[in-house]
Symmetry: C2
Subunit: 252 residues, 2 copies
């Protein structure tokens, strides 16, 4: 298998509403799936509250550890939106009003009551930052070096990711294929372990479920090398069928 | 307001399936909501993959930083279930088969094909650990000091949390109440900021939405002091109504 550099990213989800249980986060899975397509692996995610110190620590750690660092949340107009200030503090730069962001917001709010101080807050960026266009609701995301500051509302983040598609250097996308089987994973643990060992470079995940009164599991094989994934799945399928199990390609 | 010690917890969600985007995590919100009822605040969550080093680092950091540390995932029977080994390494203790867990699993698998080596893996614990009963599927959770090792499958975790209810020392539960208003949050940002300042000890969150072609927002007031929450909400309501806004108690 051709060796390629593996590109990695970290994600910091910012918001008391996630840590209080009020809001179900959707950005980890959304950004993870998008990164896969860019050939970048989400290596770690952290959820922190609306506190400067917590944001500085988490973003500082993930930005240093991985090729890219994303944040979601805390870039709106209200007092609990402190992501830009925290990241400027981390980077040791002042917060400035970005002129292009001001222009975007002035156009957006022209028919919606006009600009005010709170709305102008959404044009604030760490000095030296570029904007990430927001096709949904005016206020842009922000890019500073390897750091991408995105909205908390998932469909706004989706729009920002869309404008970033194909812009970030990555490696080969990870290919992921599944088979499903009505079997207790504890009955096939040895087979999974030996198969993963035999096909170097694949990772096999085992995800049990209980449905219609029966236990089953999906086995997910992942690698950037699609031919290897297919060979590994074919081996697993053959072994399971030899043991008298029915296998569903694509998973159950 | 009576001063009480604030109890905190960290959570490490373990699993490649979360970081690949394949599986939507439900444990952060589930455990956060449960902790609130125990009077414990979820202060931080991290999501890491099935790698020993990543688990050791995250659990080590959160266990040291907060009163309690929870983990979910990686305690099943297959090769990718390495949480127990990683935590034993972190604690510097050997992994042993817990006799009570062996007994539980033997009973559970008696009518399901009997024990095997993979199933016995689920009885492995860091030496000195206690068990957390699993009412759903046999294999127990594990408690070692301030560390709670739980299942990845949310409804199994729910059963484990249920058996822990009332067992952990906490403070006064945080009371959280909402009002909703068809207003752009950027129009009321000043009011929110001054209200949070006026009612010391409350945190106000502002959560905008876009529905039926109109913008609105829910404002969530949180504090362990219910009387303070009510007073703060009454103030916000009065101010919004004075400005000609209709307010929905409980949120929109």
């Amino acid at each position: 298998m051709e060796q390629t550099r593996i590109w990695t990213a970290g994600l910091v989800v910012i918001g008391d509403e996630i840590l209080s249980g009020r809001t179900q986060d959707k950005n980890v899975s959304q950004i993870a799936a998008w990164l896969n397509v860019q050939g970048i692996q989400l290596a770690e995610a952290r959820v922190v509250g609306d506190r400067t110190e917590a944001i500085v620590e988490a973003v500082g750690a993930l930005r240093a550890a991985y090729d890219y660092c994303f944040t979601t949340g805390g870039i709106g107009p209200t007092h609990d939106d402190i992501t830009v200030d925290a990241i400027a503090e981390l980077l040791g730069v002042p917060v400035v009003h970005h002129p292009d962001a001001m222009a975007v917001l002035e156009r957006y709010y022209a028919g919606r009551g006009g600009m005010n101080e709170a709305r102008a807050r959404m044009a604030r960026v760490p000095e030296g930052a570029e904007l990430i266009p927001n096709r949904v609701s005016g206020a842009p995301g922000i890019r500073v070096g390897n750091l991408f500051i995105m909205a908390g509302v998932p469909h706004i983040t989706a729009g920002m990711l869309d404008t970033l598609t194909g812009q970030l250097e990555g490696g080969r996308p990870v290919v992921s294929k599944s088979i499903g089987c009505w079997v207790a994973e504890s009955e096939v643990a040895d087979l999974l372990r030996s198969t993963e060992k035999a096909f170097e470079g694949v990772a096999i995940g085992s995800y049990p479920f209980f449905r219609e009164g029966r236990v089953g599991a999906n086995f997910v094989v992942r690698s950037p090398d699609e031919a290897l994934v297919d060979a590994c799945l074919a081996h697993l399928t053959r072994e399971l069928e030899t043991a008298g199990r029915e296998v569903a390609q694509g998973g159950i």
